[in-house]
């Protein structure tokens, strides 16, 4: 690739210290996203998908050790001085999180919280201007009566409305990259679709690079351009969204797709992948997925497969191509 992507993560490793020893939760993850592109990152809870992205932005826990590379517009974020990283966060790179209630400060009005994001990065803007912009942003995410709502506190909003506030706050400084970490997981099903529509609409209008982190492949089907499947701190498969659904090459991906509820096909009960992801520091030898894999052979417990790319479909499985 000659052209530089907006955001490229390579061989990112995040380890946590426990009893003086480091255990890797993210074991060399890699992905990239461009302007106007939606990358879905999917994986079970605890697979390291959120931890990895947070660490790339310098938001990891104090006890974590981060290695590898995360380049944003060509600038290396890992090891970047904290104040420089801070200038990027909230202005060029924005984030929204899973639970919009706990993600908003309960003792500040939503207007003050949105205005804070603006003021932090635009010292020339007055408080009044920032508040006016906050109202305009609430309108942008389709919150009714924004001039009244702006002076209210988070607990006065419904779950869906709170997530809209988070989105308004995230796009306040017209960022290049938006990272949405399970943006709809804590919401009612009916509201989920609305929030995804707001996100998708803004993504197109602002030509955002969007990283959609989720455990729900179904959410990605309609919204992502490309998908990276993460298992146990590694990307096990990466492909265009249509390609992935048509030709899933990793047994884990196939399991995930089979677990999506489907109303067209009648099934006794929903498919599920047996077992649980390995706990931190207790990785099996060879392929991390092999204890749960229906196709595991002898080689799987001996050698860890590497991500091999065929065209623009990458898979880390000894039998990926044949599958």
């Amino acid at each position: 690739m000659t052209r530089q992507p907006l955001f490229a993560v390579q061989d990112l490793r995040v380890a946590f210290a426990r009893d003086g020893e480091y255990f890797e939760a993210v074991r060399g993850i890699g992905f990239h996203v461009d302007h106007g592109e939606v990358l879905g990152i999917v994986g079970e809870s605890g697979s390291g998908k959120s931890v990895g992205v947070l660490a790339a932005l310098g938001l990891q826990a104090k006890t974590a050790r981060v290695r590898g590379s995360a380049r944003f517009q060509g600038r290396e974020l890992i090891g970047m001085p904290r104040h420089e990283l801070r200038q990027l966060r909230g202005s060029r790179i924005a984030m929204i999180f899973q639970d919009p209630l706990s993600s908003l400060n309960p003792v500040m009005t939503v207007g003050a919280q949105i205005a804070e994001t603006i003021l932090l990065h635009n010292p020339a803007v007055s408080k009044k201007q920032a508040m006016d912009r906050a109202i305009a942003l609430l309108e942008l995410v389709a919150i009714p009566q924004p001039d009244r709502r702006v002076a209210q506190f988070p607990h006065e909003f419904s779950g869906g409305m709170r997530q809209r506030v988070m989105i308004a706050m995230a796009v306040a400084n017209d960022p290049d990259l938006l990272i949405a970490d399970e943006p709809t997981t804590a919401l009612d099903v009916t509201v989920q679709a609305q929030i995804m529509d707001v996100l998708a609409d803004l993504q197109k209008r602002l030509n955002l690079g969007l990283i959609l982190i989720t455990h729900d492949l179904g959410v990605l089907a309609g919204h992502a351009d490309r998908v990276a499947v993460v298992y146990s701190g590694e990307v096990v498969e990466e492909a265009g969204v249509d390609d992935l659904f048509k030709r899933p090459s990793h047994p884990y991906t196939r399991g995930l797709i089979a677990s999506i509820p489907n109303m067209l096909v009648e099934k006794e009960r929903l498919f599920s992948i047996d077992g649980a992801p390995p706990p931190l520091g207790k990785l099996p030898g060879g392929c991390a997925f092999h204890p749960r894999c229906p196709q595991a052979q002898a080689i799987c417990s001996e050698t860890a497969p590497v991500l091999e790319t065929f065209g623009d479909h990458g898979v880390a499985c000894h039998f990926g191509r044949s599958a």
């Binding site: 932005l57 104040h83 909230g90 999180f97 993600s103 309960p106 003792v107 804070e116 932090l120 607990h155």
Partner: protein, 337 residues
């Protein structure tokens, strides 16, 4: 909000009446005979003198009668006359209360500043040397007896090094300013006596620190515990993701959320110090409510005892009211009709 405050204000007179009644009744069940405070030992054998004293102080009347007279007088601001000082109790209190208030407010300033700072530092640097040091300092302050600490500090700073003045509110040779607020620091300023102002301020430092340290211990432990919890909440991550610096994250986002429960303790500590500053006032010869109450109790000075109890109770009520109002303001989730 306005209705809530109004409701609380309406309840106040009833609460005050309760305090008055209790304070009055408590003195009647004490063992000591107030006559011994009024009449000298020699005159005790003279029935005429005793009868005269009883009539003079109303002790010959029935309890309900005395109670009604007392409450009636109270309505016009009369707290009775002290057996010992022979001055109106109200006048004594008016002179003593500002001295205590000045000391306690200074102590609370010291205590909350140190307490909040230590609590925040301990939580932010959780489980590091800073945390341990802050916790040790807090524990030391709240476990050491104030009279011992007061004496030790007086000895070191006043007697040994001579950098801070000894007991009292002000240099005893000073030409005192007219009493306006009763706060020595304010009255000296109002009188334009800058040197006396600093003298009063220097006199405040040690007792305020002694009292404040104890409060700082309580506050810092509370702030630390709350801070630890708040720093783990998601909106802290949001603030960092916004690009807020660490100072802003801690003070504007975390600390503000911590202040809600802390306010209650600050209010309670204030009320507690008002009545609990006795030992400190004694050590520092501070002419406040505490030492007045001790003198009154020792001399079976019933009017003074009742008066001090009522004034203390009312101040306690007011402090609680202000604390509750501040709590509502600081916590937007509480909506009271």
């Amino acid at each position: 909000m306005a209705r809530y405050i109004l409701r609380r204000l309406i309840a106040m007179p009833f609460l005050v009446l309760g305090i008055v009644t209790l304070a009055f009744l408590l003195t009647t069940v004490t063992k000591g005979d107030p006559l011994t405070a009024i009449v000298s030992d020699r005159q005790m054998n003279d029935p005429e003198a005793v009868a005269a004293a009883k009539a003079r102080w109303g002790l010959d009347r029935s309890l309900p009668e005395r109670y009604l007279i007392y409450v009636g007088n109270l309505l016009s601001g009369d707290l009775g006359t002290s057996f010992i000082t022979r001055r109106p109790v109200a006048q004594d209190v008016l002179f003593r209360l500002p001295a205590t208030l000045e000391l306690v407010i200074a102590a609370m300033l010291v205590g909350t500043t140190i307490g909040i700072t230590l609590g925040v530092l301990a939580a932010y640097f959780h489980n590091t040397g800073i945390d341990h040091l802050a916790r040790f300092f807090a524990l030391f302050g709240s476990s050491i007896p104030v009279f011992w600490l007061g004496l030790a500090l007086l000895y070191v700073f006043s007697v040994k090094w001579g950098i801070l003045p000894g007991p009292g509110r002000i240099d005893p040779r000073a030409d005192l300013p007219a009493m306006v607020t009763g706060f020595m620091t304010i009255d000296t300023l109002l009188a334009g006596k800058i040197r006396l102002f600093f003298d009063a301020l220097w006199h405040l430092i040690l007792p305020a620190f002694v009292l404040g340290w104890a409060v700082a211990g309580t506050i810092s432990r509370l702030v630390r515990a709350n801070m630890l919890e708040v720093l783990d909440r998601e909106f802290i991550l949001t603030a960092r993701a916004k690009g807020a610096g660490e100072f802003r994250v801690v003070v504007r986002h975390a600390l503000r959320n911590t202040l809600v429960p802390t306010l209650t303790v600050i209010g309670y500590s204030f009320a507690y110090l008002l009545t609990g500053a006795i030992l400190t006032e004694t050590v520092f010869s501070w002419p406040g409510m505490g030492s007045y109450a001790v003198d009154a109790a020792r001399g079976l000075d019933m009017p003074a005892i009742i008066g001090v109890t009522i004034v203390g109770g009312v101040v306690f009520l007011l402090t609680n009211l202000i604390t509750d109002i501040a709590y509502v303001i600081a916590n937007p989730r509480v909506r009271l009709g």
